[in-house]
């Protein structure tokens, strides 16, 4: 009888355990998260990247890359510079010297980050996804040259692209992931015949667990992004993707490694 009780209690405690067996790697979206109230630093700032990579169980960060009018690369998410910085216009229309003086309009006034050797050294502390942001007249050959000049370590860096021109221009030199807006947009037969494509990047609400499993069955990795609330993060983790790009890094780490 006593043995039965002990067994029951053991089963109960096992069931109550919050320890997760998730194999999903946690990536900070734009550093520690995008548009999140609890973030200490602005997304895509060097401080946010350093902070994210210093947290336990953070596998890496995702940053957004844009090219200025002189072919230099910058980490910035939005299309317009007036959305959060002290400048007007766009990265694509601004000169390198003008962008060097730009900073975010936050309490800490973090500087806009240029993707150079110094930034590369910080990013190499973890895995890094470079989300390439394009405008209508983006020259992918120029983008490719700028990225090649950085001599990125392809075992610790992958690119996320969202159009075919970018994919064709970069597929021979980099590890690539394709970002699609919804599942129906994907051509599954094309996907299966692209050995250079590492995986797919989709919004959390646009993909199911079955679709994640299907992509894994054809040897494609899955990145799920856009999650801020505890329930959203929980749903994403249940799908068991290869990576989650979380907007609340500390919360996600706390949920996976309680």
């Amino acid at each position: 009888m006593r043995g039965g009780n002990i067994f029951f209690l053991l089963v109960l405690f096992w069931g109550c355990s919050k320890v997760s067996e998730s194999s999903t790697k946690i990536i900070g979206h734009g550093g520690t998260g995008l548009h999140i109230q609890s973030a200490i630093y602005h997304d895509n700032s060097l401080e946010a990247i350093q902070y994210a990579l210093s947290l336990p169980h953070c596998y890496g960060v995702e940053v957004d890359v844009r090219m200025d009018s002189e072919g230099k690369l910058w980490l910035f998410h939005d299309e317009q510079l007036n959305q959060g910085t002290n400048m007007d216009g766009t990265i694509e229309s601004s000169s390198t010297s003008a962008l060097t003086t730009a900073h975010y309009q936050t309490l800490k006034k973090e500087a806009l980050v240029r993707l150079n050797e110094e930034t590369k050294a910080v990013l190499s502390e973890g895995f890094c996804f470079l989300d390439l942001k394009a405008v209508a007249n983006t020259s992918w050959d120029l983008f490719r040259s700028a990225l090649l000049s950085l001599q990125l370590d392809t075992t610790k860096t992958a690119l996320i692209v969202n159009n075919w021109q970018a994919f064709e221009a970069l597929k021979d030199d980099f590890s690539l992931y394709f970002s699609v807006s919804d599942w129906d947009q994907m051509n599954l037969s094309w996907l299966e015949n692209q050995p250079r494509l590492q995986g797919i990047c989709l919004r959390n609400e646009e993909i199911t667990r079955e679709e994640v499993n299907f992509l894994k069955s054809i040897n494609k990795k899955v990145i799920v992004y856009e999650m801020r609330s505890p329930s959203g993060i929980k749903k994403a983790l249940k799908k068991n993707p290869d990576y989650v790009l979380t907007d609340d890094l500390k919360l996600t780490i706390g949920m996976v490694y309680p």
Binding site: S38, L107, I253, G254, M255
Partner: protein, 172 residues
Amino acid sequence: MTGIRIVVRRVLGFCACLMVFSSHGQSPTCRPFVSYAFALQKMDYMHQLAVGCQKEHWIFELQQGLGQRNASAGNWFTQTGVNLAWTKGGGWISAGPWFRYSAGRLGRPFAYTYHRIEAGGMLIFQCTRQRKNPLDMLCYGGVGKAYESRGKGNIIGFLDYSFNIGLRYAWR
């Protein structure tokens, strides 16, 4: 870390001096009280128990809290604080500024300590008109600066804020 210790020591010293000088000439009666407050700090929530005493206008309080980060889905943390307030009023309501230093520790896997220095405003509503042992409702909020300390030389400061609502039982 040493920098934070120096700041904490100076702040506590300043508060002690302020209390001693401002108590001069006041009634020597000190009313002890216990209180409970539910606190929201940035994205965290916390249950907080406190003991303290009120001497005419001044309130001194030791607080011990236990909470969870990110609205119930995150890690546990404990927080200990010293709260100093000055209130003035009559009848059923009194109000005034407060100042608090608190330190806490966030649970695993982060396992780091943090320090908070905060100032704000406080409202005390007397819920019962009982003269001997009144039950008061507290409502206070403030803004300040928090410091995360994750090892030697790794200290990060950021803006923090809190809102607290609770009950206080005071003896006369």
